[in-house]
């Protein structure tokens, strides 16, 4: 005969803090795969982002309108913000202890990261798309 027991931790009273959600390894792998893509994209993007400093409107547009900078920056923004969203999730989960606030912060992070990635891509396409 087996008796169902409920694991109770001293800290939370329910044991949630010690129960894995089984998404840890896919999260870690996702961060690494996006990081590999971001290494070359990051170096290239740093170069063109630095190229924006102190430029006039025409200078900024000229910097971005060429195909390779446009495509690299586009990929950097989109892949970067997916990576950044997961990283910010980690930060929120580590430092926000109030459960309701944590849930809201995670949703806000999801939509903020999507908005940044979408507007970033939109702005680059507006500048770089052939007229």
């Amino acid at each position: 005969m087996t008796v169902a027991t409920r694991f109770t931790s001293g800290r939370t009273g329910s044991g949630e803090a010690y129960v894995a959600d089984h998404s840890g390894s896919s999260h870690a792998r996702f961060m690494r795969l996006t990081a590999y893509a971001l290494m070359p994209l990051g170096v290239m993007s740093a170069w063109w982002i630095l190229g924006l400093a102190g430029k006039s409107l025409d200078g900024v547009r000229a910097e971005i309108a060429r195909p390779i900078p446009a495509l690299a920056l586009l990929a950097f923004g989109v892949v970067g913000m997916v990576h950044a969203r997961k990283g910010m999730d980690d930060i929120i989960e580590d430092y926000v202890h109030d459960e309701a606030l944590k849930a809201r912060a995670l949703v806000a992070n999801l939509w903020a990261s999507r908005a940044i990635a979408a507007l970033w891509a939109f702005a680059i396409l507006l500048i770089a798309a052939p007229k």
Partner: protein, 135 residues
């Protein structure tokens, strides 16, 4: 014991020792710096998105956002973003080494921490030098 009692007792316990207790060591500082540069790049990307939207629209919209990449503040923002990209990139590279079990001994991880700190600054400097030369 009822859950309410457990929770009340749990809330009174201290969290694990934190920054005020640990002696600051370089590997720890670089771990924190990795997180700070990551969060900083999130904000930096939001600012750059505003800047690019302004540049895409042009006119008054560009005038409203041009502070993000020009003048003292703008140059500082760009410098911080470029440095954060390199520091965070090297921090990630360090994790790639550690994932493979390399440089995990005391000397190795100290070397990785120093490499992240010095390398991030050096690569930023090199990028500025090459950019100046290419203009």
């Amino acid at each position: 014991m009822a859950d309410a009692d457990t929770d009340r007792l749990a809330a009174r316990r201290p969290l694990s020792p934190h920054l005020t207790i640990f002696k600051p060591i370089l590997t720890m500082m670089m771990s924190i710096a990795h997180r700070i540069t990551g969060a900083g790049l999130y904000v930096g990307m939001a600012l750059l998105t505003l800047f690019l939207l302004g540049a895409a629209i042009g006119g008054g919209a560009f005038a409203a956002v041009s502070w993000i990449a020009s003048g003292f503040i703008g140059n500082l923002i760009i410098l911080m973003i470029v440095w954060a990209i390199f520091h965070h990139l090297l921090g990630g590279l360090r994790h790639a080494f550690w994932d493979r079990g390399l440089y995990m001994d005391p000397r190795g991880r100290e070397l990785m921490a120093q490499g992240t700190l010095v390398g991030g600054i050096l690569l930023t400097l090199l990028l500025y030098i090459f950019k100046t030369l290419s203009n």
